[in-house]
């Protein structure tokens, strides 16, 4: 085997990449900033505080080798990025949006959603979930539940840091684990929230739900059947 031009040319490509990577770091001023370290003097570099991490955007102009030094650096979270489903309750009145219509459970491909409908003191069904479970280990993050929920109640969350020590209890989320406020949702999904579609949907759904709720409860014992989301902090 002869080592000829081809290999040398290859080396040149690698070398220029190497140089480019470091010149980029100096050019952009991250050469001494970006790497994390401990709090000791010898650690030299400071790790950014939680929530203060630099967000690295990769686009057509990015050059050199790109490494995102997670968790000290992060990629941007795109609005549509989906991880696990959550249930939204409205901040104004504390009402859970879900009506326990079961459609999400029907479209869920691995069938990991199950729920029971609430009953009024008189024994009639109320369009609210009594309880609502999702097995998060089975969920395949497909987003179909959120896409087809007619009441805008179930949404995909963006939190992906879900490491855990145990899988059989903590990852079966019940209603209380799933609830998030509409304020939280509007913060993580600003575009969808302010979009024409969801605004109209919200108005429509609020009205429809209120009517059904009033009918089911006959105007009495309204608070009794309402799921209480106080325990949840978004």
């Amino acid at each position: 085997m002869s080592i000829g031009q081809g290999v040398l040319r290859g080396h040149w490509v690698t070398l220029s990449r190497f140089i480019l990577t470091f010149t980029r770091d100096f050019r952009d001023g991250f050469a001494f900033k970006r790497r994390a370290g401990g709090s000791l003097l010898v650690d030299f570099f400071q790790a950014p505080a939680r929530g203060e991490e630099r967000v690295v955007r990769q686009d057509a102009a990015t050059d050199g080798l790109f490494t995102v030094e997670y968790p000290e650096e992060r990629l941007p979270v795109y609005e549509r990025f989906r991880m696990l489903p959550v249930l939204v309750y409205d901040d104004e009145d504390g009402n859970v949006r879900c009506t326990s219509c079961n459609i999400c459970a029907k479209v869920c491909p691995p069938q990991c959603i199950w729920m029971s409908q609430a009953k009024s003191p008189k024994g009639t069904v109320v369009p609210l979930p009594e309880d609502f479970f999702i097995d998060m280990d089975v969920c395949m993050n497909c987003g179909l539940c959120a896409e087809y929920c007619p009441f805008d109640a179930i949404k995909m969350d963006q939190n992906f840091e879900l490491a855990n020590y145990e899988r059989h209890q903590t990852h079966i989320f019940s209603l209380q684990d799933l609830l998030v406020s509409s304020a939280y949702y509007s913060k993580t999904h600003p575009e969808a929230w302010s979009g024409a579609e969801e605004t109209a949907e919200r108005a429509k759904v609020a009205k429809k739900k209120d009517q059904r709720l009033q009918k089911a409860l006959g105007g009495v014992a309204r608070t009794a059947a309402k799921a209480s989301p106080q325990a949840v902090e978004a």
């Binding site: 085997m1 002869s2 080592i3 000829g4 031009q5 081809g6 290999v7 040319r9 290859g10 490509v13 690698t14 990449r17 990769q58 686009d59 057509a60 102009a61 990015t62 080798l65 790109f66 990629l75 795109y78 609005e79 549509r80 990025f81 989906r82 459609i103 029907k106 479209v107 869920c108 491909p109 395949m140 993050n141 497909c142 987003g143 179909l144 896409e147 087809y148 995909m156 575009e191």
Partner: protein
């Protein structure tokens, strides 16, 4: 022999008969991921099956979506004809997938040949940018679940097409050039690949291989030309072929195909119109009339086909997948005979299998 790669544990190994170092017989042994894709496809409603197709060849989920959507749309007839804008987005997504998948494949072929990681790292960078685009539009980097019958799950977010344009107009070309310069003339690579694992055109056809494996053996067959689907008949692109059908050709054909994909992408991002992205209303209960259909696409790894029989109920009566990785493996023995153990891994790498599809 094997598993020789972390992703093949339990799913794939080779039963090799050797005479000294020389291969005299080889049987691919497919194990099981125990996923039962086809049987699950008969339990699932048509829509529920869409995210499952992502998990076939998990590097090309947009392409898998495309094939399955075509099959069901064929059954549904005209009412599920995607609007113009959706057709363009579909092509853009499918071609981006091809670039991403070929990048991965070229990088990892080199990895299989023993060039530990630098080539793969360089190739993955471009893939990374493409995955960013996927994540931005569909919500997920790999399991996109972006196609719906009659259109798409969502329109492109604002700013998407500009970034995509910037990437395809003047970045990917340069990066393909760089990869080409970096690898194609490298004497070590030439030594390891030229004349190794030759598959003659006749054999390639008889083993029903498809995709880059078939075209490297000098058979200019591409579903996008042979049976155009979507709006592929509007674009100009060539079908590159190899000459000898050896390992080097299978490597180089992918570089050439990426260039053709970029050509299609450039045309598509220039022409893409405004408009709706769904035919009809979005519904989780879609009506699929009774009948049978075979929808196929030219996926990065070869012809991916979905055979769907519907009896008019909400689930498929029969669902079968013709997956390129699985079928291309049948030609593995033919390519390996007479070569040494060291070549086997490279030859397998040149087939570019993804185990999710081998098991199904």
């Amino acid at each position: 022999m094997g598993p020789q790669h972390p992703s093949t544990h339990g799913v794939f190994r080779m039963n090799v008969r050797v005479d000294g170092e020389t291969i005299v017989g080889l049987k691919p042994v497919m194990g099981y991921l125990h996923r039962n894709h086809e049987k699950i496809g008969e339990r699932n409603t048509f829509l529920m099956n869409m995210p499952f197709t992502d998990r076939l060849d998990y590097l090309t989920s947009m392409g898998n979506n495309f094939g399955y959507a075509l099959a069901v749309e064929q059954l549904m007839g005209d009412e599920a004809k995607p609007p113009e804008r959706a057709e363009y987005i579909r092509v853009i997504m499918a071609e981006l997938t091809r670039v991403a998948s070929h990048m991965w494949s070229v990088g990892f072929l080199l990895n299989d040949l023993g060039a530990f990681f630098t080539p793969a790292l360089y190739a993955i960078e471009e893939r990374e940018l493409i995955l960013d685009l996927f994540e931005w539009a569909s919500g997920s980097r790999m399991m996109c679940n972006y196609f719906r019958f009659g259109g798409l799950a969502a329109d492109l977010p604002p700013g998407w097409i500009e970034r995509c344009r910037a990437i395809v107009e003047d970045r990917i070309d340069r990066r393909i050039d760089e990869l080409d310069r970096y690898l194609s003339g490298n004497e070590i690579l030439l030594d390891r690949t030229k004349g190794v694992g030759i598959l003659s055109p006749e054999d390639a056809v008889n083993y029903s291989t498809s995709g880059p494996v078939l075209r490297a053996s000098n058979v200019p067959y591409d579903v996008r030309r042979a049976a155009p689907y979507g709006i592929y008949d509007r674009f100009e692109f060539a079908i590159p072929t190899g000459r000898r059908g050896d390992l080097y050709d299978r490597y180089y054909i992918r570089i050439l195909e990426m260039r053709e994909s970029v050509k299609i992408l450039k045309q598509a991002v220039r022409q893409i119109p405004e408009g709706p992205i769904m035919a009809g209303k979005k519904s989780y209960q879609i009506k699929v009339p009774a009948g049978e259909a075979y929808g196929r696409v030219e996926n990065p790894k070869g012809e991916l086909g979905f055979y769907v029989v519907s009896d008019g109920t909400s689930t498929a009566y029969r669902y079968h997948v013709r997956s390129p990785s699985f079928i291309n493996l049948t030609a593995l023995e033919r390519m390996c005979l007479g070569h040494t153990i060291a070549d086997v891994v490279g030859i397998l790498g040149s087939l570019d299998i993804v185990l999710g599809e081998v098991d199904r």
